[in-house]
Symmetry: D2
Subunit: 338 residues, 4 copies
């Protein structure tokens, strides 16, 4: 069975996923595309033999759409996801699930009411081979109970449009999700410490930032977010446990010796860093739908948690104080006690 | 356009490629399968919706077969490949192209007579990200003209059926192909040096072996083939040039610190080591056919060269002497002067 | 000229330095030793041909003592150092210079009054090859202005006698000194964050701890102190600057591949980790005295700063609040503006 | 007891060892120096308070010389070493022990007649921490019986005076010695394979060379000697055994990330690479003499073996044939059966 996917939002990431579902992932076909710019929708739809539709509701409603992919502007996510749930169709929503906690909760409630998981949120790091190996090592007990996680999230540069809040909302949100999953734990507070800013930044941007998180089990996480580090796109993660530690590998690259130095390339591009993770994410999503299974990736609840925690991190920076994450109890539907 | 592939040979590697063309590579569909064991053909064909056919000729001739994949027993390769050429159909042949130089040359002649490249031989290392990076570094001139290549090809163990000649014919043949491509050069002589044998081997097997090759340009290659090294599947390659060197990376793996040691996993399995290379190999092959292009991978001529050189390596071991590779001049059809 | 050294305190570290000055460092001779336990003094003195004296004052006063080495119990350091200054003799004092800020300041004032530097404090990391390379890289401008430093200080285990304050006073004090030197900057505040404690510890001990420091220039430092990490003695330091980063190397060790893993040894012992640093520290100290120069190592002021900052770190942990370091202005005598 | 050392030969390496025995190694004093250039002898002797003597015989005979260090021109080594043996004085001879097998044997015979070991040959690699770790790993049985050793010996450049034979006599001789010791085995044949020469060399020099050795136990060694590799001074050694492998580490160096690359320094200088090994070599030599022990380092027999094997390697290159090493049976005096 080929899963027929309708795409809402044909910007850069939408086009990238259209290409991925067409050229890289088997078992899927793009049948419908919409975008706020109808021309862009048509341009994206035509080469893959899909129809350009007028709006998200039309995509969700289309008979030849089995599953919905939401890659539109963040503030519109909630509406499209709620539509998909109402239609009983699986929906993959790029992060964030919604920009407010309230909207996330509306999605959570709608899905619970539906009674079966339909929503997957696009946190691709859970599909990265390194993080998966790290999770296996932790779960095997090799390093004992986790106590501390040290992380760094570095981009070479960001455009002028990247604002100070985005360090939490757009960048750190990836670590927030992957660490909750890695540790099987919940983040309960956030603090932000601000080093002197780099001179290589837009004037309005506070960069770098150090974010400190505490989990329910008492694990402490420090995360450097530095989006103008110049030298490369570099994701570091080291989990320290009672008996040892495990560290994310650098991407494999040939070693070169010339002129008194041994060197390897550092990627400068997050697309290259997580290409395989994106591919695996969509391959597993499509295969699950084809098999009639509920999605196993980041859930609506995870999307809610990520939004609440990243919002709390913004608040922590603004208030310069340790900020408690104000999260509802996790419902049993999502594996919780409530 | 979906490329309809007929498969000749449904053993382990055939099944692996059927799975790959079905689940991992887009744009292809298996339509026909044959095997010397009809039951095995049926078992492989059924789940992917293909027909089981009586023999290779039937697969080549089938109307719903656009391209042929030969994964049968080595000595039968030549016949199937010649059939495909006669039918004017693209054919991917797992190594070896043929077990004798004569059969390889018959294929080469048939393809030349056909006037358009149809044959690709399954040397997957050319599609490995590490080797490709290495080739880029060499071609960029970063290390200057290559002078020496050091290689190791290690398997943890091999079955009883693995014989002494197979170190050259089945193992080293991968290095022989990839180094010809990497260096854009030809191997002109071979010598084999035999260390004391490991005690971890079948009694009939000479293991390890050190193979020494010289190229037309005077590059010297040393290759350790050690197929019972116990500790893992480990492929090493270092090219030393006039200004520097470039070395294949180890596969990325999380670093773990416990009990006084920092460690990373060494793969124990060649399938895992070259999974991405196999995927890329078939993705590019299918995409080329879909686009109506001639194949760009290892050619029939490369298959001929690999057979001649690996046979010369066997002869070098038996004679304990430096053995000249007796190769025909490369025809212009394959980029040569002849 | 051979520098004749008198040693006050013949415990483990005293004996280690006696051995070092006798067997490893040229240009020095131990002539006098004292200890609170006279038997231990005699035992340490005899094999190196030194006299055992009754107390520290006698060592300082001895005619055949050119320079004094203080390796006694911390609370006694101030007295011996002040004696040495009064006698106008160079004195090397193991850390801490003194256990209270007041005593440190008395030493600082005495040395200023003397008008020439006599005191060196035993912070050996400034002599470690890795930290020295890191300082060169920073000073060369290779990574631009430093913004953040990530550190870890891990011991496999500590004895029952190791108390919670010692994480700052005995362990972190090394990073405090070396980072002030590395960054040529001053630490102005401290905060301590407490992860869940490891189960591998004495019940009275809070372990691990994460210490956060801010410098006068706005650099932010995070330091994990984990003294029961089980797996090894592991010192990590990474300085992130505006244009790049520089990271301390792991000690060189042979790589071993067996049984599916590539591994290298992690040291389990700080003595081995900093043996070369200790040797260099004393080699440079003795050479400086022999040449009639003032010491160039950590000064009395550095000793004062380390004590004030590590005490503030203890206070920060107790108060669970960001604690400002209350340090006097640096006198011009020590390179300051005051 | 201070060991009083007389030095024969005050060229670069002689001066380096005079400095080492004066400044770095305790327990020794230089008392006499000679050189073919009397001015150079005086210049070297004066700063360390030694006398300049007329010739090597005078140094050996001097009452205030307990031990002799021979750092003169290679062809003169035998005479000075024989003199020292005749005088019953310990003698450290920089490699080679002698330039001909005959002269080496005369020394071996003289030492046997004397009845006690006096001679140590200056092969410093046995004192390198990496090689020592490798030997421990091998002897612990971690990698099983050794089967193959891969080595590289690379210098950035050599002066015009470096001739083709020196690749074996001056460069490879270090691997020849250290591998005999590492494997506790004897080299029985040599072959040399010549890659295309680098263009970065003197016209008269054949560079690089690949040397192949076989040991009595059947271990096979391949050694790349490349003395104009441009990029650095780089010593590689990997021993492959029946159960695993062990590899020499690169020297520890800070990792730097800038401009899309992670890099570490490669040394460009053999003096820096083996400084610690030289220090340990002399520290152990002096301590042994002070303790009245026979030397434990490379013996006169090892010096003989190195000369015979490196001469055979030169012959192998000239004859382009596998050359058997023609070595006498090892006398019981040197741990052999004869």
């Amino acid at each position: 069975m080929t899963v027929r996917v309708g795409v809402i939002g044909a910007g850069w990431i939408g086009q990238e996923h259209i290409r991925r579902l067409t050229e890289t992932v088997t078992g899927a076909r793009i049948t419908a595309v919409t975008d706020i710019d109808p021309g862009r929708a048509a341009e994206a739809a035509e080469p893959v033999g899909a129809r350009a539709l007028s709006d998200g509701a039309a995509v969700v409603a289309a008979d030849d759409v089995d599953a919905v992919l939401v890659t539109s502007w963040g503030p519109t996510h909630a509406e499209h996801v709620l539509n998909a749930i109402a239609a009983g169709k699986p929906v993959f929503c790029e992060k964030p699930l919604a920009t407010t906690a309230e909207d996330c909760l509306r999605i959570v409630e709608a899905e619970r009411a539906h009674g079966r998981r339909l929503v997957q949120v696009g946190f691709m790091r859970r599909y990265d081979a390194g993080y998966r190996q790290m999770k296996q090592v932790i779960e095997a007990g090799t390093i004992g109970e986790p106590l501390i996680v040290h992380c760094a999230h570095r981009n070479p540069t960001v455009p002028e449009s990247y604002g100070t809040d985005m360090a939490a909302l757009d960048s750190a949100v990836h670590e927030i999700d992957v660490l909750r999953w890695l540790l099987d734990d919940e983040i309960v507070s956030a603090q932000v410490v601000l080093p002197r800013p780099t001179s290589n930044r837009s004037e309005h941007l506070r960069d770098p930032q150090i974010m400190l998180f505490e989990t329910a089990k008492g694990v402490r996480i420090d995360l450097e977010v530095f989006v103008n580090c110049q030298y490369g796109y570099d994701i570091q993660c080291e989990t320290v446990g009672e008996e040892g530690l495990v560290r994310l590998p650098d991407p494999a690259a040939v070693g070169v010796r010339t002129a008194g130095r041994h060197s390897t390339e550092v990627l400068t591009d997050w697309v290259g860093r997580f290409r395989d993770a994106f591919d695996t994410e969509f391959r597993e999503w499509i295969a699950g739908i084809a098999a009639g299974n509920e999605p196993t990736g980041p859930s609506a609840w995870d999307g809610y948690a990520a939004t609440v925690i990243s919002n709390a991190t913004v608040e922590a920076r603004r208030s310069a104080a340790v900020t408690t994450v104000d999260m509802k109890p996790r419902p049993a539907f999502y594996g919780g006690q409530a």
